[in-house]
Amino acid sequence: MAAMAALRREGRRFAAAAPNPISTVRSSLAPSEEHAVLGVRSISTQVVRNRMKSVKNIQKITKAMKMVAASKLRAIQTRAENSRGLWQPFTALLGDLPSVDVKKNVIVTVSSDKGLCGGINSTAVKISRALYKLNSGPEKESKYVILGEKAKAQLIRDSKKDIELSMIELQKNPLNYTQVSVLADDILKNVEFDALRIVFNKFLSVVSFIPTTATVLSPEIVEREAESGGKLGDLDLYEIEGAETKGEVLQNLAEFQFSCVLFNSVLENACSEQGARMSAMDSSSRNAGDMLDRLTLTYNRTRQASITTELIEIISGASALEG
């Protein structure tokens, strides 16, 4: 098509050349120059090249983030696995009663502070909301205690009045039991509860994180369940060794249980966060790689097209001059 336009232009030049060669040559030069200035004759690869550069940078960044998440996961995974024995004695003694019917539920949602970690925070919030709905009814109330920025952002939108306490920046210093026990103490002092339901993501493997809920009952409810029989029925068979009364020992037991279970759940959630971030960043770098391949093909096509255009112009110009 460009060749035809060039030929037409040459035809016009020869038609005009007959009466006044010099002036027509000058005037015929002007239209072709005008054409060169008005239209973009050579196709530019700059746009595609810019896109390729930015996509490559994104790929490098996400690969680096994946490596960082992998190393953090290694560090925290051993600690989480070592802490798994901590809640088992309590569950062996007091059982696991997620279906307990109580008046005051407190849902402790454990989430991460930073984003780009896949869907774990959304699943934790979904399960928390579902537990809230499950435990709603006449004379029953549920409150939230939120650990972590991401769950706070999601829950504050529709459940602002139900949030009792929220804590962020848990992982500023490496997680340890002292910090978590202070946190547990804070929660126990400020929040009235009959049952605490901790919602977190349990770390099974690098690609699998299961939302889990652990239930800690207050001493009064433990006594009530023990009296009514069922799972906790044989709690009365246990002798209490302690200078204090049974109620006080049960109180200390409940508090200790809460801090232990919370410690394990915070560690497991941190592991899940790093694992989820690894897989999110991995799929992101893979996507960037695919995009880069497609852009490279486009780039080559564009480059070849512009070379072909130039060649056609040169050749048609040359053939017009000869013939």
Binding site: N82, T91, K126, T212, E241
Partner: protein
């Protein structure tokens, strides 16, 4: 085309029969209470899978045997580590708030609160002593004892002089304490340090 149909059908059905659940232990152990939770969940919230509960991740405990077993199984767990998990020993002596309590196989089921003191584990002729900072000890009817402590350190890793220094420091803090909280903290420090001292000397 239809000549191959029977062969393909037989192959498909045999492969379906060949896929069996690999291990029977993979079946989730759902206790009656869990299934109640799962049922109420499924009826009110049909779209979301119910979350798992801790009992799904725990091996079930052995039932109470009819005769007293010969060995005691102990689990000593700390936040950072499990020192013993399902270890069979002859006796443990735990520092309960009422004093040193010896636990033998067949001990009555007990919940004991621990004060800072020495935990000694007797296995045959070996005695290993640990200083525990505090926690709880559960003895179950099936001769399984769980000891949950915040810190447990072998006694030989303590430096006597540092312990004396700490004791002096906390005694001084108690005398200069003004608020109840400070007094309580100083008292706790004194208790722990004097217990370590007693453990090292006694």
């Amino acid at each position: 085309m239809f000549r191959h149909a029977p062969r393909l059908l037989s192959r498909a059905s045999s492969s379906a029969m060949r896929w069996r659940r690999p291990f029977s232990t993979d079946l989730p152990a759902e206790t009656p209470v869990d299934s109640k939770f799962v049922q109420t969940w499924r009826s009110t919230i049909p779209n979301i899978e119910p979350p798992k509960t801790p009992s799904a991740f725990m091996a079930p405990r052995p039932p109470t045997p009819p005769t007293i077993p010969s060995k005691l199984t102990i689990n000593v767990v700390l936040p950072y580590n499990s020192i013993f998990s399902a270890k069979e020993v002859d006796m443990v002596i735990v520092p309960a708030t009422t004093g040193q309590m010896g636990v033998l196989p067949g001990h009555v089921a007990t919940i004991a609160e621990l004060k800072p003191g020495v935990l000694s584990v007797h296995e045959g002729n070996d005695v290993t002593k640990y200083f525990v900072s505090g926690g709880f000890a559960f003895v179950h009817a099936n001769s399984v004892a769980d000891i949950v402590a915040v810190e447990a350190v072998p006694v030989d890793q303590f430096d006597q002089s540092l312990v004396q220094k700490g004791l002096a420091e906390f005694t001084q803090k108690l005398s200069s304490a003004s608020t109840d909280v400070e007094k309580a903290e100083a008292q706790i420090g004194i208790d722990v340090h004097s217990a370590i001292n007693a453990a090292l000397t006694g």
